[in-house]
Symmetry: C2
């Protein structure tokens, strides 16, 4: 069975990461294994100058893996950005995948909306699983307060997850 | 065909990372796609506090992916260290895999040895593909100076790689 993928989207500074943190914590509390995918449109540098693995990457290594007792990290050079579905196809052994960003993707979305950033939404009603907001929307979509992770996870469970035993 | 895996091993501070950098650069110069795996026995922290992806991991996410235009990073929590062969099985689209460490592994090894760290080697003759050293060894194994990446890569090509067209 395909792993469900849900995208948390919203304008800048509406609190996507904060909501993600709450959703992750709530899902973990309920016993699920969770993966998150952060869409970084600007590019990023995960590693630190001077570290051996950074030296591997600087020397030209296409893929750098660091494997430790509690953690595995993999950094891969790309000629172009990897498609979301391609990333998803690499993930195994998790119950649910949450993305931060990917507003143009085709996954069900939770849009974070905040009064001070305006009332118009990025998504259409059809794209939305739910709205997390501090202002009521006229859309016919389930609405939750910005910190109601339990409510959102109830909806996610109902729609996408078989409860673990 | 399996991707060849070669382990660069040696005592602490013999210059494993420096040799790796030279081998990576030489392999890249010859047109190969290279992956490196660094064995970090002490554990590590690749990400930086405050960054969104670190917040995902802190909130309990089992797998954190960051995808950008030129780079993909994946950080996975492990209950126990991943076996080298399991890591290797995840890597595709490279011509060769070099590891830093994994002296107990079963891959062909290049041992880095340096006079100031003593003359005895970690590996037996049978395990060694080559020695990179500033002191002659009595072992019946090809020997190269510490910066002879071209010589080492000639040997690696001859033994493990079909030249790219």
């Amino acid at each position: 069975m395909a792993i469900p993928v849900i995208s948390v989207v919203g304008k800048s500074d509406t609190g996507k990461t904060t909501l993600l943190e709450k959703l992750i914590a709530e899902l973990k509390r309920r016993g699920y294994r969770v993966a998150t995918i952060k869409h970084d449109t600007h590019g990023f540098d995960v590693d630190r100058p001077g570290k051996d693995s950074w030296r591997h990457a600087q020397a030209g290594s296409d893929v750098v893996v660091i494997s430790g007792p509690n953690r595995l990290a993999l950094i891969e050079k790309r000629e172009q950005e990897m498609a979301l579905d391609e990333i998803v196809s690499r993930l195994t052994n998790v119950d649910i995948i949450l993305t931060e960003g990917y507003k143009r993707g085709d996954k069900p979305k939770i849009e974070v909306s905040r009064r001070e950033k305006g009332s118009e939404l990025l998504c259409t009603e059809e794209e939305l699983l739910a709205i997390a907001t501090d202002q009521p929307s006229e859309m016919n979509v389930p609405q939750f307060s910005l910190d109601d992770a339990a409510g959102l996870v109830n909806l996610i469970e109902e729609r996408f997850l078989a409860k673990p035993l």
